[in-house]
Every structure is written in C-alpha cells, then in structure tokens.
C-alpha cells in the first residue's frame, strides 16, 4: 500500500469524521438542553396503547425464512452488475441489451414469486398446491 493509494480514500475519511462529529454533537445537545421526569408509564415499551404480553423471543414464522431466501437470491444477482458497470462503456449497446435481458429474466422470477403469493403476508406463505 503506497501513499497515493491512501489519498484516494481521503474524501471517504472526511465524510466519516463529519458524520461522527455531527451525531455526537446532537446527542450531547439533547442531553444538555432537555430535562426528564421518568414514570412507570413512560418506561413501558409502548407508552401509549396495549400493555405488552409474553416474551419477545418467539420462533419466527416460516414466511420470514422464505422472504430471507428470496432476498438472498435477488440480492446476490446484483453482483453481476458490478463488472458490467465497470466495462459498460466498451460494451455499448451490446452490453446494454445483454443486461436488459438479464434483468428481464430476473423479472420473470419476480413475477413468478409474486403470482405464487410468496410476497403476500396475509395468505399462507406457500400456497399449498395439494388438496391435502
């Protein structure tokens, strides 16, 4: 790693420092300016509305796994956008058409999921195809 490598990261560093400073200042101000009177009602998770019941750590419904899988798939497919974007200019229209095709194929999958109701929270996660 040589020095001018690091220089190319300088803006990033600046941005980082600014963000941290800003957030720190805001927290500090609120704690200094505002005053507080704690009470049981306030210290509840939901201050207004129903009183909480049961434990928060319940087993998730299968729907979550399903959505997680779908997310993984569509997320990972995005990988191929990076090299494509890198050489987009050399490829010109050819590259563009190819990528359109690629996205189109992904959209087919998306449409399939949608129609199958995998994204629908009200119906059971996977429409059971069998009479049973």
């Amino acid at each position: 790693m040589t020095g001018n490598d690091l220089q190319s990261y300088a803006p990033l560093l600046l941005h980082l420092t600014l963000a941290m400073a800003l957030s720190g200042v805001l927290v500090l101000l609120s704690s200094l300016v505002g005053w507080r009177r704690p009470s049981t009602t306030k210290s509840q998770p939901y201050e207004c509305g129903i009183t909480p019941t049961g434990d928060a750590r319940e087993p998730f419904s299968v729907k979550f796994y399903l959505v997680a899988m779908v997310f993984i798939l569509f997320d990972v497919e995005a990988i191929f956008l990076y090299p494509w974007a890198y050489i987009f200019r050399e490829l010109r229209w050819f590259g563009f058409v190819e990528m359109i095709l690629y996205i189109g194929i992904l959209l087919v999958g998306y449409f399939y999921l949608w129609k199958k109701g995998a994204l629908d929270w009200n119906r059971p996660a996977v429409r059971r195809d069998r009479a049973s």
Binding site: M69, I72, L73, V76, E77, I79, F80
Partner: protein
C-alpha cells in the same frame, strides 16, 4: 507481501474443516453451513490464484460461485423446511428410512 502458498494452505484448511464438519455434525443446517464453508474455501483459492497469476478471471469465477451458492442455499433451505415440517426433526441420523 504474503506468499500465495499461505492463502492456499488456509483455503485447504478451511475446506478440510468443512469436510470434517459435514461428516461429524448432526444438524442439517450445520451440515449445510459446512458446505458453504467449503465453497468459500474454494473462493479463497480462486482469489489467491488470480492474484498470483495477475489476472482477473479468478475473481469473476468467485462471482459465479457466490451466485450458485446462493441458489443452492435457497433450494437447500426449502428442502430442509419441508423435512422439518414432515418429520419434526433436523437430525440427519433420524432421516434414514431409505437404506440397504
């Protein structure tokens, strides 16, 4: 600069760990993660080689491997869920009705 052989040794060790975990773990999910470990060991090897050979091919391969691994993960998890639903267990030792 770190010699390539170290990367290779590391990937070999990871791969071996994956194999061992595959054989000795009982929970299907764990076994599945062992497979992922093996695949990532391979990715490491790819990247190391592409670095050593000074070409980008290896890293593109990694992309493909990752995507395929994701697809496998989706299918695998689906199958595992079905198994869990029908058998109520995730222990491979108990899923052995087909034998001999």
């Amino acid at each position: 600069m770190v010699p390539i052989s170290y990367y290779l040794a590391l990937s070999a060790v990871l791969f071996g760990l994956g194999v061992v975990a595959f054989i000795f773990k009982r929970n299907i999910i764990t076994i599945f993660m062992a497979i992922e470990l093996m695949l990532n060991a391979v990715n490491l090897a790819f990247v190391a080689f592409s670095r050593a050979l000074g070409q980008l091919q290896g890293q593109v391969f990694v992309f493909f491997v990752i995507v395929v691994a994701a697809a496998e993960a989706a299918v695998g998890l689906a199958i595992i869920i079905v198994i869990a639903r029908n058998r109520g267990t995730l222990n491979v030792e108990r899923v052995d009705s087909l034998k001999h």
